[in-house]
Amino acid sequence: MFWSKIWFFFVAVTGAIALTIALVLPRPPARAMVTEEHRRLTVACGVIGILLTDDARKRVDLTGAFARSEDIIKALDAASGADRLDEGRMKTVRSTAETVMKGIKGDRQPDFAVLIEKRGRVVARVRLDDRLFGDLASGRPVIDDALAGYLRDDLWEINGTMYFVSASPVVKGAAEYVGAVVLGHQVTNELAKKLITSLSVDVAFLVGENTTASSRTIALDQVALKGGVGALSGQDISRDCQQNQPFPLRAGSEELTGLVSRLPGEAGGKRAFYTVFIRRPVELGFLSTLGAVAQNDLSFGSFPWIFVGGGFLLVLGVGIALMLLESDRPLRRLAAESVRLAKGDIEKLAEDAHPGKFGSIARSVNIHLDKVSREAKAAKKDLNQVLGPAPEGSLGTIDLLAGALPAVRPGGPGPAALPPPSEFRFGESGAQRAHPRPATPPPVAAPPPPQRNTPTSMPGVTPPATPANARAATPPRPMPAVAPPGPQSQGIAVEEAEGDAEELLEDEAVEDAPAERNDPYFKQVFDQFVAMKKSCNESISGLTYDKFAQKLIRNRDELRSKTGCREVRFTVYAKDGKAALKATPVKEE
């Protein structure tokens, strides 16, 4: 599983990197877009400043032309020579000025005019406060300069409206100043729209928090604008657009980016400025970028499908291969071995044959098998406590009759070695795994065998796997050639016990039912016992079948009650040169 883990780690890291790239990738173009947006605002702001300056030049020229009107010169000359200004003169001059204004050609008609005599008093106003006259206007710098002979422009804020104004002296003849004229052009929404015609931005003119004109009817965030104007520094307001940074601006729910530039003149002293703003581009994140993908972006011509597909197949193939090598195949091997263990083909799982965790599983199973074995041994010890100590090498069976085993077992030689009594096996089938029973009783060996304490090579008598009805069906049962203490059939567990045969034979007889004593199985055991006695050159005097059978029955019942077994199997063998008898309880699981 090591390489599989490495591969999964590699795939996860690759995925994380891909996700990071997908999330980060839209940001550089977003930054570039913001930079481009700022550049566009700066350019637009500067262009608007240039357009306003150019417009001021045209207005000053227009005012100069207005001031050179003969009617205007005559009217102001007459007013300058008068001791006082009266309403009649005012109306006359106003009418004259109105006539001259109407004669102005072009699309930039002035919205008002002020005519001032040479001492600075207003002779007449046209189209704005046109009933006022006689007041001193010379305090206004632009008028004071005009009375002195200068042409110049200014910005005024009158009753919440911003005006671009221009002033010119009125000269009579070649040397005599007779007054000055001021023309005003209102800053209107139309002017704002005209300014941005080719700029793809919007512009608004404000005095303080009052929007006087805008290319869009929009309520701009005054707090942001105030902050933007507050950030402006330096005396040269013509560099505001270049020296200041665009800032976020809101208008209702609309997200904008704005740039401000201060306006000059009198209105500038009242915090007049203009702002250029554009809609803030939507920042494209990962999902938004996906949403913006067009069908053409995924075509074969513009997307490396072969590369992506090949990479996918490579990653998938390597992953599957590692799964097969490190997981599927070892698992199948373990499963197959487990089946063989279940079938009894093997006794333990081969721990070293399985890599990694599969070896751990095999070890765990083996440990459990050992644990079960130990518990079985512990159960035998309990039987020994009940039935007395077992003879040496008897592996927990009760040696009922001391005696030597015959050299040759009935039914042929026994196996060289027997599996430990605690090992359990599952038979392949009940018929196949049933304890084999010879069709005929095994012949009793004539010569006494060498002394052997192990029951592995002794002949035995196998009790029926089922109760008496089974035995009744096949009487008399032959002794098996091999009498292993293992299970007799599938689902049956066998535990053996040995008892002292002499004691058994010497005990008082117990009266049993004659029918039980006549059980051919007991007769068979008795015959084998007699034969073993003879083969061991022991006397059989006093040994009667009834007494022997009663003892067997009594011991069988005793074992049944103590161990809960169904049947007890008796085995005849030789021990220390004497015939011995072993009782083995047969317990069905």
């Binding site: 000053v60 600075g120 009933r131 001193l136 305090g139 002195a148 002979g149 200014d154 100043y177 003149g265």
Partner: protein
């Protein structure tokens, strides 16, 4: 009052009038100062008109001659000052100490005036068109009167501790001559000082003496170039 005291008063007055003299000043003015730069230019710099040279700065409305001596203003009375809307009728108003200045708004626009040097000098509140507002100049000082909403409206009130002062009238093609006349100057010695716009001109003060033998005094005054002011 009996006849004797009345006669005495008349004689004293006649005697006093007989001792009063006139001071006439003839100023040799330098070239007028340059027009100050535009404080709040528009989109363009101002340009001279192509028809005729621009007019020089008229220093007359801002130039005043003052005789300072031991004589103090007696019953200075009331001085009227016209507020013409965007400017005062006189950019510089000279008043004797203790005089009451009465401002009359002759324009059609209300103004709220304040003295920058003493915000409490003028009572709060706007002066509506046609209305008046007054204040008393209690100490010799220069006050700058303005409207904070109309910063270009600016007038100066010079309070002097003497009853003898006069505005200078400028003449000549290049405003190179100036004259002033102060009448009814009591006998005594005085220092002649010139005030221009924002301060006293930095020059040696002339000593003017009015005596019985010489009641009419003509003082030639030379003003340094550039109208330098004392620090």
């Amino acid at each position: 009052m009996s006849m004797l005291p009345r006669v005495c008063v008349v004689l004293v007055c006649l005697a006093g009038e007989g001792l009063a003299g006139n001071v006439t000043g003839r100023l040799d003015l330098p070239a007028p100062p340059e027009r100050p730069p535009v404080a709040q230019r528009g989109f363009l710099d101002r340009t001279e008109n192509p028809l005729t040279p621009v007019r020089p700065v008229n220093v007359g409305p801002n130039l005043v001659a003052v005789l300072e001596g031991e004589a103090k203003p007696q019953a200075p009375g009331q001085v009227r000052w016209e507020l013409g809307g965007d400017a005062f009728g006189k950019p510089l108003l000279v008043v004797p100490m203790g005089a009451e200045v009465l401002i009359t708004n002759t324009s059609g626009m209300p103004r709220t005036l304040v003295a920058l040097e003493d915000p409490k000098l003028i009572a709060q509140g706007a002066i509506t068109p046609g209305a008046t507002k007054s204040f008393r100049a209690a100490e010799p000082k220069l006050y700058t009167i303005t409207d904070k909403d109309v910063p270009h409206l600016r007038g100066r009130v010079l309070v002097v501790p003497t009853p003898y002062f006069a505005m200078v009238e400028v003449s000549g093609s290049k405003n190179e001559h100036g004259t002033f006349q102060i009448a009814d100057v009591a006998e005594g010695s005085y220092k002649l000082r010139l005030f221009y716009k924002d301060g006293w001109i930095d020059r040696p003060d002339e000593l003017v003496t009015i005596a019985a033998a010489k009641r009419n005094v003509e003082v030639p005054v030379k003003v340094p170039p550039g109208f330098p002011l004392r620090k």
